[in-house]
């Protein structure tokens, strides 16, 4: 069983993003840092094991789990029924509001107004699935391999708008990029969950316990303050 393996091994292997600030990005020393990384550390800490961070992309994080390359996916993973068929989800550990972002000059206040526009999104992410549902048929959706691609495409003007998390856009804005992603409208409130392999009740229970405890003792809120600059929403 997975929990047994982890304790036996003494390390917790966690899939984390490195292209998705503020959840995961790199510092000048190329070391991963962000909300998800802190979360991974917190869980490993509570399990009493070392953490091994495995950088993944949105597109490949679920195969990582399916092929048992990692124990947990803490990679701003959103929940939907398709995914629930193949993996299990913990309780939510972070808030996430998907929205469509674009420079000031692009006018769009609701999905219908994306008609004819070119929108970049990361393939396989919740934004991709949601946007595909709500956008009009003549919206051109460009699906990039990873968030690096999506963000680069937006910043280099290859797409007019991107669909991503509000905090992601905020993190980009904070770095004063050449193109400023401003929120046009939200498409989904899709909190982040930790992904686990199916049928590992012991591990799931343990992780949920840790999340609940972290919510209760304020350590999760501290992470939120550090990376998102706000308190955790109460409904999480």
């Amino acid at each position: 069983d997975a929990l047994g393996d982890i304790t036996a091994r003494g390390t917790l292997r966690v899939a984390v993003p490195q292209d998705f600030p503020p959840f995961g990005s790199v510092g000048v020393d190329m070391a991963p840092m962000g909300y998800d990384i802190d979360m991974a550390n917190l869980i490993a800490d509570k399990l009493g094991v070392k953490v091994e961070l495995v950088p993944v992309t949105s597109a490949n994080r679920i195969p990582y789990l399916q092929t048992n390359k990692v124990d947990l996916v803490i990679s701003s993973l959103g929940k939907n029924p398709d995914r629930e068929k193949v993996i299990d989800f913990s309780a939510a550990y972070a808030p996430f509001y998907n929205g469509v972002f674009a420079p000031a000059e692009l006018a769009a206040t609701k999905p219908e107004e994306l008609s004819g526009k070119m929108v970049g999104v990361t393939r396989g992410a919740v934004e991709d699935l949601e946007l595909t549902k709500v956008a009009p048929a003549d919206t051109v959706i460009k699906r990039y391999e990873d968030n690096n691609g999506t963000i680069s495409a937006f910043l280099s003007g290859q797409v007019e708008a991107v669909a991503t998390g509000n905090v992601v856009a905020a993190a980009i804005l904070a770095k004063n990029p050449p193109k400023r992603p401003e929120l046009k409208f939200l498409i989904k409130n899709s909190p982040c969950y930790i992904g686990l392999s199916k049928e590992q009740p012991a591990l799931l229970e343990k992780v949920n316990g840790i999340i609940a405890a972290a919510k209760a003792d304020g350590s999760l809120n501290a992470i939120s303050q550090k990376w998102l600059g706000t308190d955790l929403p109460t409904d999480l």
Binding site: D19, V28, T57, T67, G149
Partner: protein, 219 residues
């Protein structure tokens, strides 16, 4: 927020280049070993072994390296084999390089005059002895230039491992681009580093080829 200086960019890219070099070496050496085995199969007396090698080569030369990487990475896991990115990358590159090296070397072995096989046979040597003492030493001379030439393809092939998440030079390039918003500079530098790795190899391959053609001496 942290600011990257150009030096930070370059330093991080160069650090990642270590992986590119290591991965290239592993693929090239591993590919060489497997390629040698393929070569022996390819020129074996048994038809079944020959076709086995032929289909292997056909398969690996006929499908994208990228797909081979994907399958090594995601596929092997399904068989319960735990493959970290570096292992999948190394494995796929080794198998891929072996297909090309095996084929290059077969050409070189076939370029050795038929009389050499006959003379060594009539001296009582077995097939392996013929290969070991007579054919390979001559084929190796012919093989040096194209083999060095192919090493350039290997170095460039390692760039694809970025797509299965292995952080070598190319992946570092995308990650740094996203932390700096300077794609032109970053990809320009990445290209220059690759050029600095590959160009000496291609140049020496050309020089070797010319040398061997001009001085057609055999020792």
């Amino acid at each position: 927020m942290i600011e990257f200086t150009t030096w930070d960019i370059l330093r991080n890219l160069l650090l990642a280049t270590r992986w590119t070099i290591l991965l290239s070496l592993v693929s090239f050496v591993g590919g060489g070993v497997v390629g040698l085995a393929l070569l022996f199969l390819r020129i074996s007396k048994r038809k079944s072994l020959r076709s086995l090698a032929k289909y292997y080569i056909e398969l690996f030369q006929g499908t994208p390296l990228l797909m081979q990487l994907f399958i090594a990475f995601f596929g092997l896991g399904l068989f319960g084999i735990d493959v970290p990115a570096w292992l999948a990358a190394g494995l796929a590159l080794i198998l891929w390089a072996a297909a090309f090296l095996g084929e290059i070397w077969r050409g070189c072995v076939e370029a050795v005059a038929k009389g050499q096989w006959e003379a060594s046979a009539s001296l009582g040597m077995g097939r392996l002895q013929q290969m070991r003492y007579v054919i390979l030493p001559q084929a190796m001379r012919i093989a040096v230039a194209p083999t060095v030439g192919f090493s350039v393809q290997v170095v460039k092939g390692t760039a694809l491992t970025s797509i299965i998440g292995f952080v070598e030079l190319s992946k570092a390039g995308t990650v740094v681009t996203n932390a700096t918003f300077q794609p032109f500079t970053v990809y320009g530098l990445v290209a220059l580093i690759y050029f600095a790795l590959c160009w000496p190899l291609s140049k020496s391959s050309q020089v070797l080829e010319r040398k061997l053609n001009v001085a057609h001496r055999n020792h």
